[in-house]
């Protein structure tokens, strides 16, 4: 489903060159849930953002569902409709109501009729458990509710892949659960997911595979059991001692 070959992304600024992503090759299969963990600044968010073209690559290759993102003639907008993304800061559109947030891209990008788009939006709001808030503006919602709307908004485009960029890091602790619950449900339904998170519990329970990144490099990967119980690399062991 997703294939990256020797992906590199360097930021150059003020005379410094930062290798944010430094040669990552990975293959994510359909319906697989991959959790990427690692210390801050390890390049995991940048890697995720490369997967839907929010960051331009320095070198390497990404293929999503058979489409080469790095090819010149690829229309990134067409790829992005198939790849949903959920952000740490929710990024809901503050000037639109909850329902409009979910309806807008369906109308503009998928060219759906209003009634069809609204029906889909209501169905998804039901699914994420906030059907009663459809007329509210995002500012009146709690963080957890906003993030669930953001998930619904991404799902409304019927994506084949969902990317989650630290979806619970900006939430109050008591709201983390409700968002993770929605994500678990998605995983059970067979969605292909790539999740950058610090929630080790989620990784352990839901992930099919865990990738551990440090300084832009893929240090270790494996099933959750392998990763949490018998890590091989020294760096992984040190990280796990800190977070567990």
């Amino acid at each position: 489903m997703i294939k990256t070959v020797d992906l590199k992304k360097t930021f150059v600024g003020r005379g410094q060159t930062v290798h944010a992503v430094d040669g990552i090759s990975a293959h994510i299969k359909p319906s697989e849930v991959v959790v990427i963990i690692g210390p801050s600044g390890s390049g995991k968010s940048t890697y995720l953002r490369c997967l839907n073209g929010l960051e331009t690559l320095t070198s390497g290759q990404i293929t999503i569902d058979g489409v080469d993102l790095t090819a010149k003639k690829t229309d990134l907008n067409l790829v992005r409709r198939e790849v949903g993304m959920v952000f740490q800061q929710f990024n809901l559109f503050p000037h639109k109501t909850v329902l409009q947030n979910i309806v807008l891209a369906q109308q503009v990008v998928r060219k759906r009729k209003t009634c069809e788009a609204e029906e889909k939006a209501r169905m998804l709001l039901q699914k994420v458990g906030i059907a009663e808030k459809e007329k509210e503006y995002p500012i009146r919602l709690s963080g957890g509710q906003q993030q669930r709307v953001a998930i619904a908004r991404a799902l409304a485009m019927d994506p084949k892949i969902m990317l989650f960029d630290e979806p619970t890091s900006a939430l109050d602790p008591e709201m983390v659960g409700e968002v993770l619950e929605v994500m678990k449900q998605l995983a059970r339904e067979g969605m292909t997911m790539v999740v950058v998170t610090h929630e080790m519990g989620f990784a352990r329970e839901v992930a099919d595979r865990v990738l551990f990144m440090d300084q832009g490099k893929l240090v270790e990967e494996g099933t959750p059991e392998h990763f949490f119980t018998a890590p091989q690399e020294e760096r992984t062991k040190a990280f796990l001692r800190q977070v567990l």
């Binding site: 929010l54 907008n77 992005r80 485009m157």
Partner: protein, 319 residues
């Protein structure tokens, strides 16, 4: 600390200070022996115009019919052609079946006409409105170019903004009128409107740019991640939010534009300011007319700021 709820003494103080200011002005004008003639002002807003109506051709009065205090005269010429006229009944000078020669007076008709100050106010209003609309469009396009990734668009917009902001509007008006007006053969009104619009456009562009840049990057990313292209994201996501944030400075800019439009009087456009000057030459009521002109500008600008405040309140529902 407990909030002091008694604010009326402060309002009283404000009123008192304003009153003292006015009193001071009054005393000062008393000293210079100026005779105020406010009664001369209203006729320059509206006046009663009485004009004789002559017969247009040789003919005959076919019929007279009274409607209220007006009389309708039906005139028929030798070929049977009919024309209708309306005069005040009191001034009627013909009766039925009278023979008429071209130029004979039928009577006089009076009507209310707008005086020079009204006409000037209207000119100022529509020149400012036209310049605002064009200026907004120019500013929006330039503002978008200013944040564009294309270096040529960016440099051109910076060049335009710097050029316009760095030169006085008065000089720009002269250049537009004398140079561009001659070269491109445009009328003085067009020259005036385009100078104002291009001047305002530069400032609007900077306001729009600031507005766009004040929207968090995540908004564009969220829009793009949903598959929208840049124009779609701009139209549906970024610009509506930027517009809301920039409404107060935009309103300020357009209020400035109304005031700056007074400069077009230098290229002989009869706007409010020029009308004021013309009225002064015939009345010598210098003080009164300038006060009235100032008040009329204040009227226009305060209506605009009220409208802006209303729109702002309407857009505040999502806060």
């Amino acid at each position: 600390m407990i909030t002091n709820k008694q604010i009326w003494p402060w309002h009283f103080l404000t009123a008192f200070i304003l009153f003292m200011l006015c009193a001071g002005l009054w005393v000062a004008t008393e000293k210079i022996d100026y005779t105020w003639r406010w009664n001369r002002v209203p006729q320059y807003f509206l006046y009663h115009d009485e004009g004789l109506i002559p017969a247009p051709f040789d003919g005959r009065v076919a019929s007279l019919s009274k409607i209220g205090d007006k009389t309708q005269i039906k005139v028929v010429d030798e070929d049977g052609e009919v024309e209708l006229f309306e005069v005040d009944s009191e001034s009627l000078q013909v009766s039925e079946n009278d023979d008429l020669f071209e130029g004979d007076s039928l009577g006089s008709a009076s009507e209310w006409r707008a005086g020079p100050l009204m006409v000037g106010l209207w000119t100022t209003l529509w020149i400012s409105a036209a310049a605002s609309i064009v200026g907004m469009i120019i500013g929006l396009i330039t503002g978008l170019c200013r944040v564009s990734k294309n270096p040529t668009l960016r440099s051109l917009s910076v060049f335009y903004i710097e050029l316009i902001r760095g030169t006085p509007l008065l000089v720009q008006l002269f250049i537009f009128y004398f140079f561009l007006g001659t070269v491109l053969d445009i009328s003085r009104i067009m020259a005036g409107i385009s100078a104002l619009a291009i001047f305002a456009g530069a400032y609007v562009a900077e306001i729009i740019r600031a507005g766009i840049q004040s929207i968090p990057k995540g908004q564009m990313e969220a829009a793009r991640s949903l598959g929208m292209n840049v124009p779609q994201a701009m139209i549906h996501i970024i610009l509506p939010q930027a517009f809301k944030r920039t409404l107060p400075p935009l309103a300020g800019q357009f209020i400035s534009l109304i005031k700056d439009s007074s400069l077009v009087s230098v290229i002989a456009i009869t706007d409010l300011t020029k009308s004021g000057r013309e009225v002064i030459t015939s009345t010598f009521a210098t003080f009164e007319i300038w006060f009235v002109v100032a008040f009329l500008y204040l009227l226009l600008t305060s209506v605009l700021s009220q409208v802006a405040a209303w729109v702002e309140r309407r857009l505040a529902v999502s806060d």
